[in-house]
Symmetry: C2
């Protein structure tokens, strides 16, 4: 498949929390040490992000690509698809892209903050039913749109990859992505769904580093366009938006089109790519998992090479 | 570095939870859709584990190796060390081992259960201070044992990799590891710390699949020895156990020695390897992160090849 020159991971961002004055409690940590005295005091790091990187030996793209997952998911969404096909990471490595995969704050290997009193409220989880309509698999759970490309028979395998989320963490996740980009350097950002909201903050905050960005059905957008000149942006949208039963895509689709117009007006090269308008029909919100995920990965790679190659 | 024939991930185990009858709440999911109606009802998967695998093109070991992390950590502990050196995964791939890395239930990309009422109590986090003594970096936070091999100057980078834990999840984590082994097939298991407690359950439950096991300072042990004949076990222990300030290693060390004796009596090939007794001094509990981590990885690989190669 691919020869790797390097592989590894690091953490970025976050802050140190100091806890003092709480009582020690007995905690079950092992059947061999049934009541270990657990001291909740001390120093803790919270709100960091995790970055796993894969550097192919033969690089075709001069800039690394950062894959930023969306809400309720982790970097694993770019790996093996729910029905067992190779994921976008495989495709990007075979095509010669140095690939950095983020697990954002609170998700996956980044860990979440369990220090009492630090984070407000409880996390929530997305049900299979909510995912089904929000990700436009069909009009209601168990019923798929005709021509649906998401592997709906593997919905259970997909659901095992869901992770909880808090509602207040978006600014922390944006900050962590910006820290990751500062560490990685000039790059191309690929952001899916809520990853588009994180990525939009990075597009604005570190314009000299994010040379190009691909947003896959993003849920957030840049809020200034005076520093976008000479940069390239692709917004990729799947099918069934006019039949969305979740209420999410009605407001997002026109905002996406308006963002592309504003980017172009600001001097960027900006493209709104509706897959069905190009004749590629049947894609859900989970573009990197649909049955044509390899085709969409190559389309994305070709666009990136054209933009920065 | 290494040519990969395959790379990917999958989830194993877990159960479906059905939630009904709860009210929908408005949730902030995006700056573009400020109050999305979030329905907490539906079906959720909880208590699965995540498995990321790397298959080198040139294999030297006939069986795959499973790396099972310990408490408060994730599979990332086998990646880049806190001070930036290549991790055990790199070493195992270069040596020709198909390598499966687990994130167990509640940790990392496996996700935790946020469905209200399902899991008892709140999770706890391990402070830098507790890690310092429990992992035998030194007698008290900031003071290292003479000759300490853990990169203590990188304690903050290490701490960013800590994740919370619940106290009731060990049986779930054991079940998930057993499921992973059933899916992977005949294998060699490498378990660190609490990963030894998960792994010990697997050694007992699927004796025909776990052909050999390496336990790195485990916190749990097999409880039967009538099915171990013909199998191989290595227990590797670091330094400073006699100077442990945490109170953890006093009870664990004799249980480890007794386990090796019981395995040998049951007909297994079982070895208790005290690194300092072999002249390798200065190792902490974090054997895969200490400054001789590559040497210990090769030592482990040679033992595995001798056992099953």
């Amino acid at each position: 498949m691919v020869e790797l020159a390097d592989f590894g991971s690091f953490y970025v961002g976050g802050r140190r929390v100091e806890v003092r004055g709480r009582p020690t409690e007995a905690l079950y940590v092992s059947s061999s040490v049934p009541a270990y005295p657990w001291d909740p005091n001390g120093d803790f790091f919270v709100e960091q992000a995790y970055v796993q990187y894969f550097i192919p030996a033969r690089r075709r793209c001069p800039l690394p690509v950062i894959l930023q997952h969306g809400g309720g998911l982790t970097g694993a969404c770019w790996e093996t698809t729910p029905d067992g096909r190779p994921g976008w990471i495989n495709s990007f490595l075979e095509a010669g892209f140095a690939t950095y995969v983020i697990d954002t704050v609170e998700r996956g290997r980044a860990g979440f903050c369990a220090v009492p009193g630090e984070w407000p409220g409880a996390p929530v989880s997305r049900s299979l039913q909510m995912a089904w309509t929000m990700f436009r698999f069909g009009p209601r759970y168990g019923e798929a749109f005709p021509g649906q490309r998401f592997p709906v028979a593997s919905i259970d395998a997909f659901g095992r990859g869901f992770v909880p989320r808090w509602a207040h963490t978006i600014p922390l996740q944006q900050a962590a992505l910006i820290e990751a980009i500062r560490k990685i350097g000039p790059c191309v950002l690929v952001g899916h769904s809520q990853g588009g909201e994180f990525g939009s903050a990075a597009v604005t905050a570190v314009p000299e580093l994010v040379r190009a960005a691909v947003f896959l059905e993003p849920s957030g957008f840049p809020d200034r366009f005076d520093n976008v000149r000479g940069r390239s942006f692709l917004y990729m949208m799947g099918d069934y938006i006019d039949r969305d039963a979740s209420g999410l895509w009605g407001p997002l689709e026109p905002k996406t089109r308006a963002t592309v117009e504003a980017l172009a007006k600001g001097g960027a090269r900006a493209e709104y790519l509706s897959l069905p308008e190009r004749g590629i029909r049947g894609n859900s919100h989970m573009l990197m998992m649909d049955d044509n995920s390899d085709e969409l990965a190559r389309l994305t790679q070709d666009w990136i090479l054209d933009a920065v190659g």
